[in-house]
């Protein structure tokens, strides 16, 4: 006879090392195997028990599976009991050996000894496979109506297992369930309810079979809540909470979307929620279930408010578990009755201070869904306070949520700027990538706040330059609005908390210098710093210029190629007499149509700011189709300088949103320019068009373009012919166009810029010929008066995007005197967006001896439904006599 189980456990426990334990187990396993071979009946029970122990320690025990089967076929209950236990622990439904047990289990289920039936049902319920479920289901269907409740309750749970494996058998069980509910035995009712819930959850069409049970369920629940002390079922002073919870759960399923059934439950639910003792966990378990039922079914509003108040009370409970379930449930029901949840806002905010992180997370989620326009100030203040103390893993989530709600519900822009700045200064390194760019966009589109913002940012930088995103935004703003920062503000009226710092130029440069030298500064931030300095060079006085130059020069040999290139470019720019306008302020960046959602990485503005100029340039490009590229921003001022001496509005026309700027533009027309400038203008347009077309093509290869163009800026002697040669390649043509313009500006202008070239560059056919044939442009006359003829050449540049139309306006003069001071502006209905470039010239030579072109692009948001309609505003002079006209020019419906 082998040693006892007890001795094995003692031996194993006394092992000092894992190796010793392994050798003991190996020894014992070998002994058990020998005993098995010898068919030692006496020790079989003991061996299986030992195997279970060995199994629990994690050692292999497959060799004992057959022993379990041998035990369960024995007629002895003692053998069966340990045999079935072994079967359940050593085998599972995936093992084929289990099939060998099928017949034995079937026989045992029909045994006359209730305990033999019990153990076999238990094993069946815990590990049966699909095949077994199908085989033995008839026996289960029989014993589910057994006279013994001990067997009935086990059979009901076995039925659950059968239906989980073979849902088709549901029909067989439904008629048998009803009888189970009319029992007095709680265990049988409980298991029957579990079975019903399982059936309903598996297949909601079955719910209908159980609707009639509602009154019966209500009755059972009522008797449980009103019964006195029942020692058999009392748990902490509550009668059978397990059964109560089960009934409430089934009521929830039956009452959902069923006003009639819900109506029958209202009373009992109110009774449960008022009468249940909430001092102990067990009572709260029932209340919790009850609240969920009330919130799910079509219950009365009063009851719903009561349910949310129960959760509010839960929030004040000292038990973390109760607060946890309350927050969880509140966030599930917050959409059903937000007002009722709002009442508990303060308690929820308190939960942010909980030491338990899972409670804090849930509270944050909930607060996030509670924020509205009316309470944002209060809630954001709380969240900011909390951000100060939050631990790192929690910060990023919190910051993301803060930024979303701030963007969504900000009462005004100033508040929004303040809040985001505060978030960035507290937890700048945790903010999502898109937040800085959104903030820059916000500041740039709110000119009235730019002075305020730059001062705030300056102050923030003085305190802390280690938060990279904050530093980058700060540098961007200082670069853009440096003049506002150092301006003398003593004369300006202060609003109540307005800032009026008096900052010296030296102090600003000092801070940039500090950023350069700080150890935590990243390369990207250094790039921002360089660009910021370059911008400041045109905003600060001559005295600061030398210092800026020296600082930039330091980077000419930097090991980082990006910094080096930038430093070289900028220092060359200083010798370039047009730099002031190149470094002019960026036009306001417009918000994208579809407001950028944090987390949605598809939106291009959210690309992390890798390179300063790239970001500066991408933003306008991608946020508004009104901007071609950085070069638009660059070239519009250039153009204005080309037209030097004119207070012209061409800049605006190019950079601004044509729609919103129309009114400003109307009324002032550019004055004629000299011939040389005209050529430049032509060239400029050419470049613009190239660029814009390129953008219209989908803005691909932005980085490339930018790099090319920046490279181009440095290159002074380039051949104009490049333009023609490379016209079929967008990138190249854009780059070379730039090269051209730089060449023109710096060297002698080419005497004759062929008109056709600019046309060619404009032509969509040319742009897309590589990809797909494009419909021939349609040309037609739209205006004819005073000798002025305007005709449109319309084309669709993108065959797969018909909503975009290029309109090339060709203006000629059939009169005998030249038309001067020509200006053409256009307005469109709301569903259209128009981008209008400057005319190639403001002078139209007489007698049809030359033509002026002006390019526009129209984006039709209702393509195919509404036609394109342009209202023009024409101003011009003939022989010094001013003319003005406002004609409507519709396009043919196919456009």
């Amino acid at each position: 006879m082998s040693s006892k189980l007890r001795d094995l456990i003692k031996t194993v426990r006394s092992c000092k090392t894992a190796a010793e334990e392994r050798s003991q187990i190996a020894k014992e396993s070998a002994l058990i195997r020998t005993a098995m071979k010898e068919e030692d009946l006496e020790s079989r029970q003991r061996n299986v028990a030992k195997l279970l122990y060995i199994h629990m320690l994690g050692y292999p025990t497959q060799f004992g599976q057959m022993e379990c089967l041998k035990l369960i076929v024995s007629p002895s209950y003692a053998d069966k009991r340990i045999g079935y236990l072994g079967l359940m622990l050593l085998l599972d439904e995936k093992q084929e050996v289990l099939l060998l047990a099928t017949n034995c289990i079937r026989g045992d289920i029909m045994n006359s000894n209730q305990f033999i039936v019990g153990v076999s049902l238990c094993a069946f319920g815990n590990i049966c496979s699909t095949a077994m479920a199908r085989d033995i289901s008839p026996e289960i269907e029989k014993v589910i109506s057994h006279s013994n409740p001990y067997i009935r309750k086990k059979a009901a749970l076995c039925a659950i297992r059968v239906l989980r494996k073979v849902p088709d058998l549901t029909e067989n069980y439904i008629p048998k369930i009803k009888a189970l509910l009319s029992e007095r035995n709680h265990a049988v009712i409980l298991t029957a309810l579990t079975l019903i819930i399982e059936i309903c959850e598996m297949d909601s069409t079955q719910i209908i079979h159980f609707k009639k049970m509602v009154p019966q369920l209500v009755r059972i629940l009522k008797s449980l809540t009103s019964s006195g002390y029942l020692p058999e079922h009392d748990i902490g002073g509550v009668t059978d909470p397990f059964l109560q919870v089960k009934i409430l759960r089934l009521l929830r399923i039956l009452g959902q979307n069923d006003p009639e059934a819900s109506d029958a439950m209202n009373d009992i639910l109110a009774q449960v929620s008022t009468n249940t003792d909430s001092t102990k966990n067990v009572g709260n378990a029932i209340l919790y279930e009850c609240v969920q039922t009330i919130m799910t079914i079509e219950s009365e509003n009063g009851l719903k408010v009561m349910a949310i108040n129960i959760l509010g009370r839960f929030l004040l409970n000292r038990d973390n578990n109760i607060r946890y379930v309350a927050l969880n449930t509140l966030s599930r029901v917050v959409n059903t009755d937000i007002q009722a949840v709002q009442r508990h806002r303060n308690t929820i905010v308190e939960c942010l201070k909980d030491p338990d992180v899972s409670i804090r997370c849930r509270a944050l989620d909930l607060i996030y869904s509670l924020v509205t326009e009316s309470n944002i100030r209060v809630l954001v203040r709380e969240l900011l306070n909390f951000l100060l103390i939050a631990d790192a893993q929690f910060k990023s989530e919190l910051v993301a949520k803060l930024c979303i709600v701030t963007e969504k519900y900000a009462p005004n822009k100033r508040w929004q700027i303040d809040t985001i700045l505060r978030v960035m200064s507290i937890a700048g390194n945790f903010i999502p990538d898109e937040v800085p760019s959104n903030l820059i966009q916000l500041i740039s589109s709110t000119p009235e706040l730019s002075s305020y913002a730059v001062q705030k940012l300056y102050l923030a930088l003085k305190q802390d330059i280690t938060q990279q995103p904050l530093t980058q935004v700060g540098l961007w703003c200082i670069g853009e609005y440096g003049d506002l920062l150092v301006a003398d503000k003593s004369q300006l009226p202060k609003d109540e908390d307005g800032l009026s710092l008096n900052v010296s130029e030296q102090a600003v440069i000092d801070i940039i210098d500090l950023i350069f030298r700080h150890a935590t500064t990243t390369q990207a931030t250094r790039q921002y710093s360089l660009t910021s300095l370059a911008k400041l060079s045109s905003r600060f006085s001559q005295s600061s210029l030398q210092r800026i130059k020296t600082m930039i020069d330091n980077y000419k040999q930097n090991i980082n190629l990006e910094l080096q290139q930038r430093a070289c470019e900028y220092s060359t720019l200083f010798d370039f007499d047009k730099k002031a306008s190149i470094l002019d302020r960026m036009p306001p960046i417009e918000k994208q149509e579809e407001s950028p959602h944090i987390g949605n990485k598809n939106i291009p503005t959210q690309t992390p700011p890798q390179q300063h100029y790239q970001q500066q340039q991408q933003q306008p490009q991608q946020q508004s189709s009104q901007f071609g590229s950085i070069l638009d921003g660059l070239d519009s001022p250039t153009q204005s300088s080309a037209n030097s001496g004119n207070n012209n509005n061409n800049n605006n026309k190019q950079g601004g949103n044509a729609m919103s700027l129309l009114e400003d533009i109307f009324g002032s027309a550019p004055t004629p320019t000299s011939n040389g400038n005209m050529n430049n203008n032509n060239n400029m347009n050419n470049m613009n068009n190239n660029m814009n077309n390129n953008y219209a093509m989908g803005g691909m290869g932005m980085n490339n373009n930018n790099n090319n163009s920046m490279g181009g800026m440095m290159n002074n002697n380039n051949n104009n012919n490049n333009n023609n040669n490379n016209n079929n390649n967008n990138n190249k043509s854009q780059a070379s166009a730039l090269l051209d313009i730089m060449g023109d500006l710096q060297l002698t202008p080419t005497p004759q810029q062929p008109q056709s070239q600019s046309q060619q560059a404009l032509s969509p056919t040319n742009q897309t010929s590589v990809l797909q044939p494009v419909p021939q442009p349609l040309t037609f006359l739209v205006y004819q008066k005073h000798g002025l003829n305007i005709s449109y050449e319309c084309s669709k540049p993108q065959p797969n995007n018909l909503s975009l139309t290029n309109i090339n306006m060709v203006i000629t003069n059939t009169g005998s005197s030249p038309i001067t001071n020509f200006s053409l502006q256009a307005a469109v209905p709301k569903y259209l967006k128009i981008q209008l470039l400057a005319p190639s010239s403001t002078v139209i030579p007489p007698n049809n001896s030359g033509e002026v072109t002006q390019v526009s692009k129209v984006l039709n948001s209702q393509q195919g439904q509404k036609p394109i309609l342009l209202r023009l505003k024409l101003d011009f002079q003939i022989n010094g006599q001013p003319f003005s006209d406002v004609p409507d020019t519709p396009l043919p419906s196919l456009f």
Binding site: A49, L57, I322, Y324
Partner: protein
């Protein structure tokens, strides 16, 4: 309230009882036990007793040196699961008479028998402590001297 599994872990991380109601491979079983053991044992005592884990929820409670861990569905009532754990502990306590970890180490099979009278197919089957204890003691007596019984002192 479907239990996917139930574990009893000692404070040292040793497994005292495992019961799997959903099919997992042996590899998964040992990985889950380790993973959950780490989560539960290292959790500071004052935090709540619920953990979200994979698509499930882990609900655990510590009694002296033993952690009772249950894995159930996300939508289950966490509070009543805690009650079920407590129900099980009380029955063990009455059966062994002031139960301690050693009782469960040397009589793990009896703990399994009790559990099997309490929970089946991952669902609660008996709500009365007395009934469970009565049934267990009836079965224990049956071993002693039924006709044709084959009792072995384990």
């Amino acid at each position: 309230m479907t239990f996917h599994f139930l574990l009893l872990l000692s404070r040292q991380g040793k497994t005292r009882l495992t019961k799997w109601y959903s099919p997992f491979t042996n590899k998964e079983k040992s990985r889950f036990t380790r993973e959950i053991g780490n989560m539960v044992l290292n959790r500071p005592p004052k935090l709540c007793n619920f953990l979200e884990w994979k698509e499930y929820k882990i609900i655990f409670k510590r009694y002296a040196s033993l952690y009772f861990v249950v894995c159930c569905d996300r939508e289950d009532n966490e509070l009543i699961v805690l009650e079920i754990i407590h129900h099980f502990v009380e029955i063990l306590d009455r059966y062994f008479g002031n139960v301690c970890e050693l009782d469960l180490i040397f009589n793990f099979h009896k703990a399994y028998y009790i559990l099997d009278e309490l929970i089946m197919a991952g669902e609660l089957q008996e709500t009365s402590k007395k009934t469970v204890l009565r049934l267990i003691s009836q079965q224990d007596t049956l071993l002693e001297g039924g006709p044709g019984e084959h009792k072995v002192d384990l």
